[in-house]
Symmetry: C2
Subunit: 456 residues, 2 copies
């Protein structure tokens, strides 16, 4: 059944006010889909349908709803209901939800949850934004190493239903420090009286509470984990981060990189939810910076202008400005993009500079030869620039500039991100528009310098 059919059936039940049937129908849907259905209703209907949800799924549905709707709900429903909702949510979802809530509503929520939940939430809210601590969940299973398989199984049966993932179990020493990990599948295949520490894997991978979420994502990806334990400074397990949460982190980080590469300050929110002033603030500083840079590029033209407009050759060169600027910029951008992405995925490192230089130099020679040839053919045979006497000299000069520009732009594009990374800055910052601006300016300088020497 496709989504439109599902929706129209639910709409019909809602319209006819058949509450029991609607509740039954909602039970059959995945909770993410229930949240999506709610997001397509107006506020009154949304509240009405939300109240109909069976209690065991309403917390889950709530955590999949978007921020605006969560806010509207919290503002409307009673204190008791808030308390139940938040107490039933996974802690990381509850913290996410509170992070985006206006402070008066946060207060209202915290006053109504159980003291245990409040204490945990407060601790989470104190971790720095985007740290492992702020995205972890505390729902995991851990046992002392001395437990037997039977004891561990009993403990899991008692508490396991609340745990976000019990695929991996964590074995602790007497001080609560992580000693090893144990796959649940190994536990359930083992004999009852074996101590769990005899089964555990000691070469486990972990992250610290203060590690950046990007580091966590890299670790999880590198070691193909479904969950990674988060340790405090003393080596005690305080939470875990599961691979499905890492998917969100990776998407966020990729978006940030892409935005920086297009000279945008990354936004905390998605495009549709970001206000006009916020968008302006994220774009304007970069544009002003590049505007000023390009005004200086213009100075190069002005500098040569007097010479250019005095001769037919010079006038022909003015028409080449866009071509030489664009090609230099585009070549630089291609190289810098590959290197920046290589740095982000860990495949390229600053110490690879010589290999990058050698590779880009060879690529540039091949690329620039073809571009120079194309450019020569168009200018000489099709546009027939300049006068018949000067045509060959002009076209050769332009093609020679083209080779120099491509070589320069590609090597600059390849090496500059490595330099920026070596300085511990984010290479994405100097991508595309930055490289383009520098490559533009230098390309014009090359063209005019060469032309002045040869032609004017």
């Amino acid at each position: 059944m496709d989504w439109e059919t599902v929706k129209s059936r639910l709409d019909a039940l809602l319209e006819a006010d058949k509450k029991a049937e609607l509740r039954g129908a909602l039970r059959m849907l995945n909770r993410v889909d229930v949240a999506q259905y709610l997001s397509e209703l107006d506020t009154d209907k949304m509240l009405k349908v939300f109240r109909l949800l069976p209690t065991e799924i309403s917390s889950d549905v709530f955590s999949y709803m978007d921020d605006d709707q969560q806010e509207k709900l919290i503002a409307t429903i009673g204190d008791q209901e808030i308390c139940r909702l938040v107490d039933d949510m996974f802690i990381d979802d509850a913290v996410d939800f509170l992070d985006d809530l206006p402070s008066d509503l946060v207060k209202k929520v915290l006053e109504n949850v159980s003291p245990d939940t409040r204490r945990v939430i407060n601790r989470f809210l104190s971790y720095p934004e985007n740290s492992a601590g702020s995205i972890m969940t505390i729902e995991f299973c851990a046992f002392p190493g001395g437990y037997t398989v039977a004891q561990a199984m009993k403990e899991i049966r008692r508490t396991g239903l609340d745990k976000e993932t019990i695929n991996t179990l964590y074995i602790l020493d007497a001080e609560g420090r992580l000693q090893g990990t144990l796959a649940l599948r190994k536990l359930i295949s083992a004999d009852d009286d074996v101590p769990v520490q005899n089964l555990m894997e000691t070469s486990f991978v972990s992250v610290g509470t203060l590690d950046d979420q990007e580091t966590v994502a890299e670790t999880v990806k590198k070691y193909d984990l479904l969950a990674v334990p988060v340790l405090d400074k003393e080596g005690r397990v305080v939470g875990i981060i599961t691979a499905d949460d890492i998917l969100d982190v990776m998407q966020e980080e990729a978006t940030e990189d892409i935005e920086r590469m297009s000279a945008l300050t990354p936004s905390d929110d998605t495009y549709m939810k970001t206000g006009v002033f916020e968008l302006v603030k994220n774009r304007l500083p970069w544009l002003v910076l590049m505007l000023v840079a390009s005004i200086f590029t213009g100075l190069i033209i002005s500098h040569y202008e007097d010479k250019l407009i005095l001769s037919a050759v010079g006038v022909a060169l003015i028409g080449c400005i866009p071509m030489i600027m664009d090609t230099g910029g585009n070549c630089g951008q291609q190289s810098s993009t590959l290197i920046i992405r290589g740095l982000a995925t860990g495949e390229v490192e600053p110490r690879d500079a010589v290999r990058v230089l050698w590779k880009e130099a060879r690529v540039s020679l091949l690329v620039s030869s073809v571009l120079a040839a194309v450019c020569f053919v168009i200018q000489y045979f099709i546009f027939r620039v300049g006068t018949p006497d000067s045509r060959l000299a002009i076209c050769l000069t332009i093609s020679a500039s083209m080779v120099c520009c491509v070589l320069f732009a590609k090597i600059l594009g390849g090496l500059l991100p490595l330099g920026v990374k070596a300085l511990k800055l984010d290479p994405a910052l100097i991508a595309s528009p930055m490289i383009t601006t520098v490559a533009d300016t230098c390309s014009l300088l090359i063209l005019f310098a060469l032309a002045t020497a040869v032609l004017l």
Copy 2:
């Protein structure tokens, strides 16, 4: 202990030829780290160390090694060893490995594995590249709905150790079609004689064998899954895809998007492993295309040239070419990047065109006013362009062109990707350099048209 210390200790043991100790030390490491250590050795040493690995970890280590090293190993080791290695690997890892192997070695491997493995591998190799079928694994647990909890637990104990993830169990009907899913944690907390179908969740999410890996990634992300079942046309479960494999897919897809956005044909391999000719092939067609486009942009200048060089006003305008071109291009790129990313993450859709238009129009007005003011101040008070008589008119014309260019570029950048998406093409294709080229050309047209009307 940091990686350098670990490495130097292993090196010392290898140097001193202390085989037993080295084997013991390698046992203490995570398998990903063992593979990394091997990758830093020359071929002879790598082979020597690989032979030392305890058999129970060598397949795992092998699947984490990079393609070149896997190839070297396979070419050197005996048929028996190949057979054991590949039989012990998870099927998805084995298929990955075979995908990158030269065909003579694939033949050698397939001749040596067990008939069962060979049949499965052959089926996998027949799924289209990047389809769900090609990245799934067949290691999962499934039971008929009539099984009791006790029967299911017994079955898991018997086979569970081989399964990649048993966090979620799959319940089948008599024809082998998926009826529902069951979390292992629910199973182990239930009473022995309950039929598993009484415990299962029927609103599960699944993907088809032929679905693109990008669709699979979106599904896993949307529903926060740790594993998704892959169904054939008849609805039978043929495999599962786990969240850790989706992390690789997401990284690949983000890299592809970023490369397309910088006018590069995405490469199958990472930068360092892509040959010079392959790099040239991925870059050159786009550069030639944009070169030709920019030559036409140059025609705009040539068209107005005669008028421009005859007056002081016109000559002043030539110096503005880089500024107006760059600003138009940069503004267009910013908007298109946000929209393309919004389309990729599913937040923006083609039907949002009017909202995007309205948003970009307001942003452009604010942004362009500031840019025009900055530009006016610099041109009028600092550079003092043109003659005293014409200065105000020139500067106002340039600033007015700036407002028009920004408005045009941002709206184009916002709407063009939506149009491309509506045509079912990849919006990333028309990003940055494409938008930049179009915006450049139009910006120059706007500047010269306005200047001709007002000044010349």
